[in-house]
Amino acid sequence: MVNVTIDGMWKEFSDGTAIGPIDLEVRDGELIVLLGPSGSGKTTTLRMVAGFIRPDRGRLLFDDVNVMHVPPNERKIGMVVQSVALFPNMDVFQNIAFALEVREWPHEKVVRRVEELSDLVGIRNLLHRKITEISGGEGQRVALARALAHGPELLLLDEPLSALDPNLRESLQMEIRRIQKELRVTTIYVTHNQDEAFAIADRIAVLNEGVINQVGTPSDLYDRPLNRFVATFLGRGSILGGEVTSCDDKGFEVSFDGQTMHLPGYQEVGNIIELSVKPEDITVTRFGDDGLEATVESIVSQPGRYRVQLKIGKHSLHTFISANTLPEQFRPGERIRITIDPMEVAILADTSP
C-alpha cells in the first residue's frame, strides 16, 4: 500500500481561522486515528489529504511522490463519510461497482469483485436493494465496500460511525479493524470519540485548534500525555500544578497548596511542574494520615459507580468509586484523604496552557 507523509500542510480560511502546519507520517498498512474535539480541523485535514481542499502551503507525499497537484479522482483513495453519501440514484450493487465501472472493468470482473467485497462486509443479501431500503448500519457497510472496491492505497474515514447507536458502533468498529488488517490498507480515521479511537487505532494523532499535539499509540498517549489538552481530553485526567521543593536519587518532592507528594524521577528544584492524574489512580479513604487531604465537591451517580469531584486547595480532581464502597459516607463538603499512585502520574512536558 502506501506511506503517507504530511509535511507542513497549512490552510487559512477567509474567516481568518487556520489549520496547520500539520506534520504527520502514516505508515504503510497502519490505521491512524485523527482525534480531536469538533472544530479542531480533523475533517479539513482529511479533506486536504483527499484533495478536496487545496492547502496554501506544505507537501503531501504518497510514497515520496508529492500528490499536491493530483486531483482527488487520481489519488487512489477510498473515502467514507458520516452522511454515508451513497448515490441515491443507484442500487447497492451499482454503488459498490461505481469505482470499477468508471475504471471500465469488464462486467464479469466487476460482479466478482462486488460479490467478494459484499461478502467481506457482510451485505451480500442487500445487493439488489435500493439505497432507501437499507438501514444506517447497512449503509455504512455499503459505503465501506464502495470505498474499498477499487483497492485504494489509502482509505479515509470521516466519522463513519458517529450517526449510529452505540452497540452498532462498537460492532462495526471491530469489523472495520478486521477488514483493515485483512486488506492491510493504509487508513486515516477521523473521530471525536476517544473510546472509538482507542478501540480501533494503531496510533492516534491528537488534534487541537488546527495543530497536532501528540502522536502515539493509545497507551503512549494515555500514560504519557505531553500536555494539558492531551491529558484532559484523552485520559479525562486532572491536572495538579506545583513547585519542586527537593530532589534526591530516590525521586523528588513536589508541593502544592501546602501539601507535598513524592514522585520518582529527577526534577530541578524550584521548577514549576504540572502533573496529570488519572481518576483510576486515585484511592479515597475516610481515615488515616496517608496521602493528601481533599474536600468532596460533588458526587454524581453513574452506572455501577460514582463520580466524585474533589478539591485540593485550588486544584480540582475527580475519581470514581464503586457503588459498594458505601458512598453515603461521603458528603459534599466533607474532608477526606486520598492517595495517588506515584508510578502512574505523568509529568507534562509542555506546561503552556
Binding site: 478536496f52 497537484h69 479522482n73 452522511s83 453519501a85 443507484m90 469505482a99 468508471v102 464502495r146
Partner: protein, 548 residues
C-alpha cells in the same frame, strides 16, 4: 484538477459565447447603429421628452402594480396548493402552467370574451338584472392590463412559492406551534423568511414580464397606454432607429439594475431546507367556517381569472362568432393543407420547440454549473446573463438577429436555425431557475464521493450529477418547451411561410377574422402544454411539479 478544470471552463464558456453571439452582439449592433444614425432622434432628445418620461413612469408603475396583484392573488394559492388536501391537485398544477404557453393575442381574445363588455360575465349580469346596457367590464383599460398580467403571473407565484413551501421542514413549524406561536407569529418568523426567496424570484420574473409587456398593453389599453416596449416598436415602424435604440437602452438599464439588485439581495443564498419527507396538510373538513368561506371566495376569484379565459379559448375553438353556430371547421383546417400548409405549422412548432428545449436545458445546465464556480464574479455574472433574455426588448432582439446574423449569413432565406436560437434564449431564464433549485438540494458529499472513487468529470456528471438533477431537468425542459412553443415576437419577425408555427398561425387566423380556426389552434397549444406537463409529472416520481 487541471485537466478537468480546462474541460469544465471550456464547457462553461459555451453558454456565454452563445448568449454573446446571439443576444448581446445583435442587440449591440442595433443599439450602436441606431444611436449613430444621423436622421433619428438622439438619446438626449428621447430622454428629455416628456412623452418618454410619462411612458417610463407608466411602464414601471404598471409593472409594480401587476407584480403586487399577481403576488396577492398567487401566494395564498401556494398555501392552498401545498397545505390543503383535495382531489385533482395535479390537474390544478397542470392548469396553472397553461398561461405560460398562450400567445398574448390569444389571452386578449379570451379575456375580452370573459371579462369584457358583452362578455360572458357581463351577459350573465345583464340577464340577471334585466338590463340591456353593458354593465361589467374589467378587461380593458388599466384594470384589464393589470389583470391580464396577473393571469400570466399569478400561477408563477403559486408554483414557485408552493415548491418552496413544500421544502419547509414541518418539524420547525410544529416546534413553533408547540411553543405557543400564533399563526401570525409563525407566518412572520418562520414561513415568510422561508418563502421570501421564492417570492422574490417570482416577483422579479413577473416584474420583467409586465415591464416588457407589449401586445396586452396595446390591445387592452385601448390606445391610452404605452409601455417602453410599445414605443420601441413604434419607433422601429417609423424608422426612427435612434429613438428605438435610446429607448432600448433605457429599458436595458432599468431591467439590468433590477436584475443586479435581485442578485445582490441574496437570492442565491441557500434556502434552509428540511428533508421533504412529508408536508403537513390540512383537510378541508377540518377548517373553521370563516376560513372555509374565505377559501371558497378566494378560489372562486382565482378560478374565474385563470380558468375563464382558458374556457373561452375552448369555446372559441368550436363556436363561430361570425355565424353564431357550433362547428368543427377549426380542427379541419388545422389538418388540411390550405393557405398555411395544414400540419406543417404543427410539425414546425414541435420541431423548433423540441430543439429549443434540448438546447435551453443544456445551456441551463452549463449556466448552473458555472454559477457554482468558486471564482469571484463568475456566479454573479452568470446570474445576470441568465436574466438577460428577459431584460432585453424582444423586438430589438428579433431585429438584431435579422440585421446582424440572418442577413449577413444569408440565413434570411431560410431562417429556421435562428428561430430555434430565439426560442432557446427565452427558455434559458426558466430552465436555469428550475435546475438551480434541484442542484441546491444535492448533498455535495455525494459528488465528492464520486470524485474520490476515481470518477472523471465526465463520469461524475453522467453517472451521478445528471441523474440527481433529473427532476429539475424535466421541469426545465417543460418550461423551455412551453416558452418556445408560445414564442411570438422573434419568430414572427424571422419566419418565412415554410417556418410558420402554431403561434403565428393563430395570429394570422385572427388577422383575417378566422376565429374558429384560431381557437382550434390555440386549443391545440393548450392541449400540447398540458400533455407535456402530465408527461413530466409522470416521469418525475418525486412530484417536483411546481419547481419553477
Amino acid at each position: 484538477m487541471r485537466r478537468g478544470g480546462a474541460l469544465r471552463s471550456s464547457l462553461m464558456l459555451i453558454p456565454f459565447i452563445l448568449l454573446i453571439g446571439f443576444l448581446v452582439y445583435p442587440v449591440a449592433i442595433v443599439l450602436i447603429q441606431g444611436l449613430l444614425q444621423p436622421t433619428g432622434s438622439s438619446f438626449q432628445e428621447v430622454v428629455g421628452s416628456s412623452l418618454t418620461q410619462r411612458i417610463i413612469l407608466f411602464t414601471v408603475g404598471q409593472a409594480l402594480v401587476s407584480t403586487m396583484v399577481a403576488m396577492v392573488l398567487g401566494v395564498p394559492g401556494a398555501f392552498v396548493l401545498t397545505k390543503l388536501q383535495f382531489r385533482g391537485k395535479n390537474t390544478t398544477r397542470a392548469l396553472m402552467t397553461v398561461p405560460f404557453i398562450l400567445p398574448p393575442i390569444v389571452v386578449v381574445v379570451g379575456f375580452l370574451e370573459v371579462f369584457g363588455p358583452g362578455g360572458i360575465i357581463d351577459s350573465i349580469l345583464m340577464a340577471l338584472l334585466g338590463s340591456d346596457t353593458s354593465m361589467f367590464n374589467i378587461a380593458t383599460g388599466y384594470i384589464g392590463i393589470i389583470l391580464a398580467h396577473a393571469f400570466y403571473n399569478a400561477p408563477l407565484f403559486i408554483l414557485m412559492v408552493s415548491a418552496s413551501l413544500e421544502r419547509l421542514n414541518p418539524d420547525i413549524e410544529e416546534m413553533a406551534q408547540i411553543h405557543g406561536a400564533t399563526f401570525t407569529q409563525r407566518l412572520r418568523r418562520i414561513i415568510v423568511p422561508h418563502i421570501r426567496i421564492s417570492i422574490l424570484a417570482a416577483s422579479i420574473l413577473t416584474f420583467l414580464f409586465s415591464f416588457m409587456s407589449f401586445p396586452i398593453v396595446l390591445a387592452l389599453g385601448e390606445g391610452s397606454f404605452m409601455t417602453i416596449e410599445v414605443q420601441i416598436w413604434n419607433a422601429f415602424r417609423f424608422f426612427d432607429y435612434g429613438e428605438a435604440a435610446s429607448l432600448a437602452i433605457i429599458q436595458l438599464l432599468i431591467t439590468m439594475t433590477l436584475a443586479y439588485a435581485y442578485i445582490r439581495t441574496g437570492v442565491r443564498e441557500r434556502e434552509v431546507t428540511g428533508r421533504t419527507s412529508y408536508v403537513r396538510t390540512v383537510n378541508i373538513a377540518d377548517l373553521s367556517t370563516p376560513t372555509k368561506i374565505l377559501l371558497i371566495v378566494y378560489s372562486s376569484i382565482l378560478l374565474i381569472l385563470l380558468v375563464g379565459p382558458i374556457l373561452a379559448i375552448i369555446r372559441s375553438a368550436v363556436y363561430d362568432p361570425n355565424t353564431h353556430v357550433l362547428t368543427l371547421r377549426g380542427f379541419e383546417s388545422l389538418l388540411n393543407p390550405g393557405m398555411d400548409g395544414g400540419l406543417i405549422p404543427m410539425v414546425n412548432s414541435l420541431f423548433y420547440a423540441s430543439l429549443a428545449t434540448v438546447f435551453s436545458v443544456i445551456l441551463g445546465l452549463l449556466l448552473v454549473f458555472s454559477q457554482q464556480s468558486k471564482m469571484r464574479l463568475i456566479p454573479d455574472l452568470t446570474s445576470m446573463v441568465t436574466l438577460l433574455p428577459l431584460g432585453v426588448s424582444a423586438i430589438t432582439i428579433a431585429y438584431g438577429l435579422m440585421i446582424a446574423i440572418a442577413v449577413p449569413l444569408g440565413l434570411s432565406t431560410n431562417p429556421w436555425p435562428l428561430i430555434v436560437v430565439a426560442q432557446t434564449l427565452i427558455g434559458v431564464p426558466f430552465s436555469v431557475r428550475a435546475i438551480e433549485i434541484t442542484r441546491s438540494k444535492i448533498d455535495p458529499a455525494i459528488l465528492e464521493q464520486a470524485e474520490s472513487l476515481g470518477a472523471s468529470a465526465l463520469h461524475r456528471v453522467f453517472f451521478v450529477e445528471l441523474p440527481l438533477l433529473a427532476p429539475g431537468i424535466l421541469v426545465a425542459g417543460f418550461f423551455s418547451f412551453a416558452m418556445a412553443i408560445g414564442e411570438m415576437s422573434a419568430t414572427i419577425f424571422l419566419a418565412r411561410p415554410e417556418n410558420f408555427t402554431l403561434a403565428i398561425i393563430i395570429y394570422r387566423y385572427l388577422s383575417v377574422r378566422k376565429f374558429v380556426e384560431a381557437g382550434a389552434a390555440s386549443l391545440f397549444l393548450v392541449v400540447m402544454c398540458v400533455a407535456a406537463f402530465i408527461i413530466m409529472e409522470r416521469i418525475s416520481e418525486n412530484g417536483y411539479g411546481g419547481t419553477v
